[in-house]
């Protein structure tokens, strides 16, 4: 064992994808909730 991590791109992509989905999803949810509220 060299003590150096090799590969790992799948974990990197997973972390960025989770961040984009969660933050983007919540952002869309809040904007839609605002528009539904003010449309009443």
């Amino acid at each position: 064992m060299s003590g150096v991590l090799s590969g790992g791109w799948d974990f990197v992509i997973a972390a960025y994808a989770v961040s984009a989905i969660l933050l983007g999803g919540y952002c869309v949810h809040v904007i839609r909730a605002f528009r539904c509220g003010t449309a009443r």
Partner: protein, 230 residues
């Protein structure tokens, strides 16, 4: 009544998204791989900005809670509602990113080490405050109880921060900006700016939703006002 618009917070959200996109492209494509952690270290360009932003948002929640308790101004309660929800999203995201990073570096998805445990406690505490707000119908009780529980829950924030210094933790200690290489610092700071702008935009819109709901709860229906006047 003038219909509120969200043009200004939407600008923050768009600017935040652009910063996050640029920071992520730089972090994924142009920043060099770290000597020991290799490519996995690139997760830090989203994990660390999320952690910094979460700490700021949690502190803002504490400020809103304390301000409501001292002044009784409903604006602080609206801000608190928006901030609590954002805190939960950020804390949950932080745990997810940390877990994805932990698997290739520690060999496990989760470990009950001091940093992770205190973070999980924080997530549970603020989820509890959010649940409390949903269950309590009376606006005054809801605002007071959630403000008090936010102040109590915030006690865990400095414990989360210092946990890596106080106890023998698997989680590494915080790096200082002065010791990080410029190549690593650029994507880190650009993503932090992006996340901060995005979160400010979201909290502002969520605060307006809370204000509109409170107005519906507190202001009596029109027919009651007309009856009282007659």
């Amino acid at each position: 009544m003038k219909r509120p618009t969200i043009r200004f917070p939407l600008l923050f959200i768009v600017a935040g998204a652009v910063f996050l996109l640029l920071g992520s492209i730089y972090g994924l494509a142009f920043a060099p791989a770290e000597e020991h952690m290799g490519e996995v270290q690139r997760i830090m360009y989203v994990h660390v900005p999320t952690a910094w932003t979460a700490m700021l948002v949690l502190t803002w929640a504490f400020v809103c809670a304390a301000a409501f308790l001292f002044t009784g101004n409903w604006r602080w309660d609206n801000r608190l509602e928006a901030t609590i929800q954002m805190s939960i999203v950020l804390c949950f995201l932080l745990c997810m990113q940390g877990s994805i990073w932990a698997k290739p570096t520690w060999g496990v998805w989760w470990d009950w080490d001091p940093r992770l445990t205190t973070m999980a406690v924080l997530l549970m505490a603020f989820s509890g405050v959010s649940a409390l707000r949903h269950f309590v119908q009376d606006p005054l009780k809801r605002a007071t109880w959630s403000a008090v529980s936010t102040v109590v829950g915030y006690v865990d924030v400095p414990i989360v921060y210092f946990s890596v210094k106080w106890w023998n933790s698997l989680h590494q200690q915080q790096s200082s900006v002065s010791t990080i290489s410029r190549a690593f610092l650029i994507p880190l700071m650009v993503n932090f700016a992006g996340m901060l702008l995005l979160v400010i935009g979201i909290i502002t819109i969520r605060t307006r939703i809370a204000a509109a709901r409170l107005e519906e709860e507190v202001v009596p229906p029109t027919f009651l006002v007309q009856e009282a006047a007659a």
